[in-house]
């Protein structure tokens, strides 16, 4: 069984999407894994990467309530031919957002399902993950990301058994008001490190 882990974060280097796929990879035992980076490139490159795979796992951040443009373009280009490249493939999607609520990823998951349908592939499962900002500051499977760790275990099992499952959305094991406070502190600190005053963050142009 060959599984494609497609990191479609537009960010180069570390990202919540990459961290999610790395956590999933640890649970995918005794199988061939192909990594593909969709930060740039086109649908042809995506098609070449997923050829012969029986599972395509896309991970990306929610952008303006949907799929980020870099991936959207690649999906549109690859759509007519992907079923020829990977006829047995099931599609899985891990969508994360900066909001606490994982449920806000539901629309992006629906969009991935339409891609799957138009491409003639089979939908596996979608996971909407809230609090993507915590992904690189806490280990997946522990503390605030305990629930996420369990979800990755179950998803890996679903993929390895070639099953489909209902989409789910999850929030962290962490109070929302604290997440908001930490996020606000983080924005102010980053702005300060860039030489900005707090008031400048609210600038109108």
């Amino acid at each position: 069984m060959k599984i494609a882990l497609i990191n479609a974060s537009p960010k180069r280097g570390d990202s919540a999407s990459r961290t999610l796929l790395q956590a999933l990879e640890k649970c995918l035992h005794d199988t061939e894994i192909i990594w593909h980076d969709s930060a740039s490139g086109d649908g042809e490159e995506l098609l070449r990467a997923v050829g012969g795979c029986s599972a395509l796992v896309f991970a990306f951040p929610l952008y303006v309530d949907g799929i980020p443009a870099n991936l959207l373009r690649q999906l549109e280009q690859a759509c007519p031919s992907v079923a020829q490249a990977a006829p047995e493939a099931k599609v899985y999607a891990l969508v994360n957002n900066g909001f606490y609520d994982g449920c806000q990823n539901a629309l992006a998951l629906e969009m991935m399902q339409y891609f799957t349908q138009e491409a003639g592939l089979t939908w596996g499962q979608g996971i909407g993950v809230g609090a993507g900002g915590m992904m690189q500051s806490a280990p997946i499977g522990k503390g605030p990301l305990t629930r996420l760790g369990k979800t990755m275990d179950v998803l890996a099992d679903t993929i390895l058994q070639r099953r489909s499952a209902e989409n789910i959305t999850i929030a962290p094991n962490f109070p929302r008001f604290l997440y908001i406070q930490a996020a606000h502190m983080g924005w102010r600190l980053q702005a300060k490190n860039n030489g900005l005053k707090k008031s400048e963050l609210y600038k109108r142009y």
Partner: protein
């Protein structure tokens, strides 16, 4: 006069008709595609309100606060916007603040501006895509919430969109 900004991905022969409309209507052609957002958050923490990438996508975000209405014309793509139109909106998040607030029990961004333009969506080539239309309707509502627009209209066009149907 009502100030309007039109973002669209129409074929050039149809798009030409938009440019001759009136002086209060500004047209932003999503093609050729703008560079896509790279998630650096520079528009929040380096140059607040403005994308750090200096291509023409900046102009769209700059114009947004001065409009009464933003009209988005897009081919319906997987229940949402086309890649070219989406690339422009992805580059416009500096319009909002990075900070959060709770609306209807969910987290959303705070607004940089006191009021936001109304949003009108025209999705075309929608024939036979009833489920995708439902998603597009929900997308428009979610966009309106996140951009702080109190009014949102969504219209679907089975085939190509007619300019006379957009500029009522």
């Amino acid at each position: 006069m009502v100030k309007r900004l039109i973002l669209h991905d129409l074929p050039p022969q149809m798009a030409d008709k938009l440019y001759t409309y009136d002086k209060d209507t500004t047209v932003f052609y999503a093609y050729p595609a703008v560079r896509h957002c790279v998630g650096c958050f520079g528009c929040w923490i380096k140059t607040p309100g403005q994308c750090v990438v200096t291509d023409r996508a900046r102009e769209f975000c700059d114009m947004m606060p001065r409009q009464d209405e933003v009209i988005i014309i897009s081919k319906l793509t997987f229940g949402g916007l086309s890649p070219d139109v989406k690339a422009v909106l992805d580059r416009s998040i500096g319009y909002m603040l990075p900070f959060f607030r709770i609306i209807n029990g969910e987290m959303h961004h705070m607004q940089r501006f006191a009021s936001s333009p109304a949003l009108t969506y025209h999705f075309y080539q929608t024939a036979g895509k009833s489920a995708q239309k439902e998603t597009a309707q929900k997308l428009a509502a979610a966009n309106a919430l996140n951009f702080g627009s109190s009014k949102v209209i969504v219209r679907f066009h089975e085939d190509d969109v007619l300019i006379s149907e957009v500029l009522l």
